[in-house]
Amino acid sequence: MDKKLVDLMADLMEDEVLALVKEKIKQGEDPMGILDDARSAMEAVGKRFESCEYFIPDLMMAGEILRQISDMVRPLLEKTTGPQKLGKVIIGTVAGDIHDIGKDIVTFMVDVSGYEVLDLGIDVPAEVFVEKIKEFQPQVVGLSGFLTLAFDSMKNTVEAIEKAGLRDKIKIMIGGGQMDEEVRKYVKADAYGKDAVAGVELCRKWIGARQ
């Protein structure tokens, strides 16, 4: 592990990090090693976000750096092992709710963390979730909602997924303004993620465990 790369990225020194990565690629360093360092840095960023030292714009910035590193490194990986996506995730704001800031941030962070994400948008009816799960076959489904009453919609959505016989094939996470562990129990989701960092962590836990 290159501590310098991890530290620079955790400190959000965009130009310095990218220059360093470019240099490493030129030197012929292992691209997987670079990606691992970037992921370690993201974990450090996640911790700082957790303690509120970092805020949403910092998180977005870190995600942006990670995306640029991935873009630089990925072509090298594809030569050897083909396109590498860790897994598939569907995300959407449930029916009756139209708030998308949080959902978009989670989508972005999950995407830059190496997952293939399908964003269904806002005010998504339960049947659309069901239909898209059949088509896209994700391992993880994220239900987002900001309004207090979105939890009723979430519950309906989880029930519809269950009725369609898809519940065992996926893990469901919920997130958004009013959500907490109580709501998770009520809607019968698998986990509640309090922010984008937690969302990525859940994807990693669930999908990583499958491989």
């Binding site: 303690s51 509120c52 029916a95 998308d100 005010d123 207090t148 009453l149 919609s153």
Partner: protein
Amino acid sequence: MEDQREKHLRIVFVPSYREGTCCEGYTILEVAQEAGVYIDSACGGAGKCGKCKVRIVSGTCSPPTREESEQITSREQGQGFRLACRAQLQTDAVIFIPEKAIFKGPASRKEFTPRKIPIQPAVTTHLLNAAQPHGTHSTPLDTLSTFLKSRHGLNGVTVDPQVLGEVAGLLEQPGEIAASVWMNREIIRVQKGAATPAYGIALDVGTTTLALYLCNLATGKILTSASATNPQTIFGEDIMSRIAYSVHHPEVGVKRMQRELVNTVNEMIHQVTADKRLSADDIVDMTVVGNTVMHHIFLGLPPDRLGFWPFTPTVQTSVNVKARDLGIDILPSAYVHVLPVEAGFVGADNVAVLIAEEPYTRDEISLVIDIGTNGELALGNKSRLLSCSCATGPALEGAQIKCGMRAAPGAIEKVKVDPQTFDVDYKVIGNQAWKGEETPGKFRPVGICGSGILDAIAALYLSGVIRPNGAFMQGYITPRLRKDEKGYKEFVLARGEETPTGRDIVITQRDVRQIQLAKAAIRAGCQIMMKLLDVRLPDRLIVAGAFGMHIDRDNALAIGLFPQCKPETVSFVGNAAGHGAYLALINRGKREEADRIARWTEHIELATEESFQKEFLQALAFPERKG
């Protein structure tokens, strides 16, 4: 000796939603003091003063004591009232702390300055000499109508069915009759001889606070006012939780909330009328404003659909309902006029703010900001007016802040930080002097309210302790800046030895983030509307709402709560919603104006605006420091 038992009971105090824990046998007052919840107890918990009266919403306590049966009426006991210093907790409980009595008089916390406006009330009184001799063939109604038409120019006047009987009786006697006519079309009161003066009530139903004004309809003068905590806080702290309560208790939920609301409004009416030696029947008119959810609940309409996109209200135009149908204790045949709403989250309160401030009569561009749990914004002038609502959340009112509390005695409401030494001076609600002035005040600080939080964050930002992106500075420049036991940064405003709980009052990094989120919601709304109207900066900025009256203008500008206007163009107008309700009470033209403006104003749904996310993220940071 410290109690070694595990504190397994969870006690929630409403409306602050602070929580405390204890074991069985603790009194409510003990738990409240430990949790930093303020309950007045002048006698120090001796069961003598009766000031610590609270209401048990759920949970079980020890049986009432002798002191309690002396100080609490049986009716109150039936409603669950107890003395906090006497009732010992036996289970988890939710405790409602009533607002210290009902504030009354001009010192009401929801204030505004009435403006001159023609006095044209909806109810006018006409003197008629229409004695109807025995044996006449004309019905009493015909007789009155004829008189009102020929002498007073009023066509097609009807009579409230319950007043009709009185009319017949009065007409049989000689002498003049005073008829009170509503909107020139319905007689709602008849009196023998000269009319007694007519009075009206303007009511502002806030999510947390009710404000009521008693007015003389002939002079337009406000005789007295009252405010009280909205009793619906026992069903949930914000509007969304009230909607949820209704959704999860079909049919009965909204009725319960309406009943609690009407009961409290009636108590306020009794108080102000008794104060001015009036009877309920002297009140012949009433206007009501409130956000759309409060508006629906007041009318007994389920607010359920307001909880889901597209937040469609059940009724949008103004509504007139007989007082007796709502159970409001004024003249039973009087009408209660409920002002119109604009949209799901832009309610009659915002319409009332608009008719009070009249941005639609001017050439200059006004930005009207009404700050509450839900911020409402309006921008425009006489050719176009936009409105929107933004989810500011309760942080600005002290909720979801580590040491936050509502503006009540014991709350730090003003803060100064010395930019060199980082020493802190503060002022506590209930005390006249600042802490630095050395006169020991009656109240020691138990928490910090919205205006104090704003002051503290602005001062810490201006002194460099908080960086432009909202993070605390690197390092520890003063012992006040420290890490808590979990490693999170915080700044100490008041040390344990200054507080009655012995606990430090701090501003945490998370608190700063909460305020950033609230301010970004307001700013993003402003920016989007300014772009839509192609306005760089509004010519005038009007800040409405009780919260606005207590915040420091320069500090609010320093952290970018508002667009960067010139300070002199900013005005704070207090409870403009209450003002609007008052204007609609004394001038019926204002009611038509309200209906017209509610339809004419263009409502913007921020969440569906494409640039909202970008604007929101940009607005999180603090603006550049000036000077």
